[in-house]
Amino acid sequence: MSLFILVALPFLGALLPGLMNSAGRSATAGVTFTVSLTAFVGLLTNLPTILEGEVVMARVDWMPLMGLNFTLMLDGLGFFFALLILGIGLLIIAYARHYLGRDDNMGQFFTYLLLFQGAMVGIVLSDNILLLIIFWELTSLSSFLLIGYWKHLPEGRQGARMALAVTAMGGLAMIAGMLILGQIVGSYDLSEILQHRDLIQADPLYVPALVLILLGCFTKSAQFPFHFWLPHAMAAPTPVSAYLHSATMVKAGIFLMARMWPVLSGTPEWFVIVTSAGLTTMVLGAVIALFKHDLKALLAFSTVSHLGLITMLLGTGTAFGAMAAVFHILNHATFKAALFMSAGIVDHAAHTRDIRRLGGLSRLMPVTFLIATLAALSMAGIPLLNGFLSKEMMLEESGRTVLFGTPWLVPALATFGSLFSAAYSFRLIGHVFLGPKRDDYPATPHDPGAGLWLPPAILVALVVLIGVAPFVVEPFVKLVTASLLGAAGVVPEAHIKIWHGLVPALFLSLIAVFGGLILLSVFKPALRLWDSTPRPEAKAIYDAIVAAAEGLARAIILPLHNGAFTRYAAIGAVTIFAAGYHAWITGTLDAPTRTMQPAGAVPIAGWLMLLGATAGMVLLHRNRLLSLILIGIVGLMVSIGFVFFSAPDLAMTQFTVEVVTIILMLLALNFLPNRTPVESSVLRRVRDAGIAVAGGVATFGLSYHFMLRDAVSTPISEFHLANSYKGGGGTNVVNVILVDFRGFDTYGEIIVLGIAALLIYALTETLLRGPVRARLLNRKPDQPRAGDTHPMMMVVLTRVLLPIVLMVGFYIFLRGHNDPGGGFIAGLIVSIAVVMQYMASGFGWTSARLRYPYHGVIGAGVLTAGLTGIGSWFVGKPFLTSDFTYVRIPPFKEFELATAMLFDLGVFLAVVGAVMLSLESFSRLARLASEVDDDHPMDIDPSREEDDADGLTSTARAGV
């Protein structure tokens, strides 16, 4: 199967569980299983190629200029991890089907699970490190959703947040490291990078890159000191813990270390950082795990410990260490996933995971007992089980590792960790399953159905098979090791076997196992000792750090961002002014290259009016209605100014926007006091006036300066003028810029516009549901109302005007590509035409005649514009490439048809929808407050007079 399909399959499949949700839980799980199975089989079809030692590649250039290509590579290492991800994924899906209760939304769960699976497969198959980062972040996000799946549990939400914060932070560091790596090599393709070991290690930026990448790996794989998030992520449903925290997500960091092993390993820095972090994690995790009473917490810390073990093995930088790491990844995934699933079964059956409340389950749950015991014994490192083999390889490797110049340090610590590892494994068996039967279980424990025990049983079968007959997997392990090592090492000759003779590793192993047994026998005093030892609580530290960061952010942001617009305006004005002032005093001024133009009497009159309106605004702004009228004047004069300076497009837009603004403001003003109260002190107002004057003077100076001089560089407008007709097929440059040159911007803008309108709608709707509703219902107008609600003259006039205005709007729209106009102005014109009807004939009458809701109009607009853009893909052009042609339909003259016109239609629809939706939402507020919602367009209608009763009431109502 093509690698693209392999990666895309879980993502596409993620749509299915949600859709199948209503078809029942088995169907949902079934479809998820099928998707995973397909991917699994698809992966296996590549097995023959992999076994021949070849690498499967698939490549599509995505953003070649940035070095970001969609390049996938399947080699032994990737195959190995993909096999774990998909194989264990299958078991988890089967297990989760029976694990999740009826209250859990299964469709959602499996959607998240498949998203996660896709992201994981993406990581292990990526050949481009930038692509790898994208998938890496996707695993962080999807695991966030999975860990927080039980949204009602606060621990689940907190655990999910913590996991996301820690892994995403590491991810950020890793991005930086990857970018450095890419810069060193000059390529972001892994297959390229892996060839340049010497180049990378000789580079002065090697150490920063190494540290940053390792930060990403360590956070993801829960290495000390970032190990604390993993136990808190245990609030997730057990299938998630079994999948993410045994086999997949936490192995992503390990995978990346393995992937980068050929180029990053072998240096002293790598050795010291990775080995010591791994060793610390291994010992620390094992010690904490022993004293955890929650079954899943015990397993979580044991996972931390085993991840540390693998990390340490990778850190040694030897080929044998790498092989042991690969082997242990396989073994750990099998026994740990089985253990997690068993813990889930116990939790399910006994309704508790607290080891202190369990015990004696062996006779009540024999099947689970068998599975969990075999898996735990493997974890403890008992011969004939797979954990023994890799643990002994680890001990053998540790004997050869010299850290900080002390030869005994690594083997001693490794044995110490193994000892605790054996102890907690034995504790798991002894304190949960063995011992006397109790009669105070929260629920009666019993063995579950096959759906729950079969998946871990399959894994345990593997545990035993590998443990008894390691030669079965040896070729595969060596193959994976070979692809891990690349050109940097040679696969060791040594065979994986149960009996090596009386080697030191065997003795260390014996010490660990028997030491573990002895430690467990003195568990009670040890626990008392442990409980009385003070130790830092990771969550408290984490919370303190988060709180400190939040406090710092508050301290920085709140003075700048306090929610008051005046503050932002002041900061913006002062900053720009300061920067401009600095530029002015340090820079040089050229002599003017243009001469002043004479000003006629009429422009001066217009200027005076602008000044007058502005001055009036400053003096009279507390009267809100008056200031609105003055704003109208300013808008009008600015529009005239645009006409005067030959910008009819702008004039039309300005004018229509002005009308809509006044209507919007008046709708809001209805619910506001007529006067703005004095809220700030005199001193403050003087200060603000100072800032305003400084800003105004600076703006004047800047404009004056630039109007007298030619631009420093050639303005882009020349390109637009030259290419508008050639490239965009329109002679109206403004419109061609909007719909063609910068069409993508426009597309984004109409989406924002639509979102803004929908937000206004949502806000008013929420407002109307809350306490405001009662206040509105009891609202009395604060001034006497004139009697005429819908004057007949208005109704008739607006009704006559409607088709005319629509016609003009249509004309302006069609003409837009070549002459002033376009979708935006047409949208505003049409909106005003509709608003006129609202104002004249009333809300009820107009709404009753609306055929399409405004939300739909916005959606249709965005969709039209988007589809127009996508349309260019079908002819192999980039998004939003426009095309035009000339057609002639007799008896009309030849005219032009451009795809930009369709795009403009989208703009038009989005503008109409957005403007109308926001106006309508505002006026919805008044719906509650006003007493009568009249369906009749006129208070007095001669044609209604015949109908006696109706006529009477409406006349009577008009008098109210």
Partner: protein, 95 residues
């Protein structure tokens, strides 16, 4: 310069001057009020005068496109006046 264009020139100048003066006087009315009705009427007058100015500008510069701007102003200019008047009379402009 022929007599006709000369005449046209003078006429345009007078028209510009009167309209500009009208604008300024409306502006004065708008600022001194006294009632909101006066001010709204002043705004309406200014819209009408602005319409005249745009048309005159079109005639003066010989550009047709300005007439469309004036068409828009003529067609939609009254909407804000109506909205303001409705606000004064009823408070709610859409009921």
């Amino acid at each position: 310069m022929t007599a006709a264009t000369e005449l046209m020139d003078i006429a345009l100048k007078i028209a510009f001057a009167t309209l500009a003066l009208g604008q300024l006087l409306s502006m004065v009315r708008l600022l001194i009020g006294p009632s909101p009705g006066d001010r709204i009427l002043a705004l309406d007058t200014m819209v009408v005068n602005a319409l005249g100015l745009v048309i005159l500008l079109g005639v003066y510069q010989g550009v047709q496109i300005y007439f469309e701007v004036s068409l828009l102003i003529a067609m939609l200019g009254f909407v804000s006046t109506v909205a303001l008047a409705r606000f004064l009379l009823r408070g709610d402009i859409i009921e």
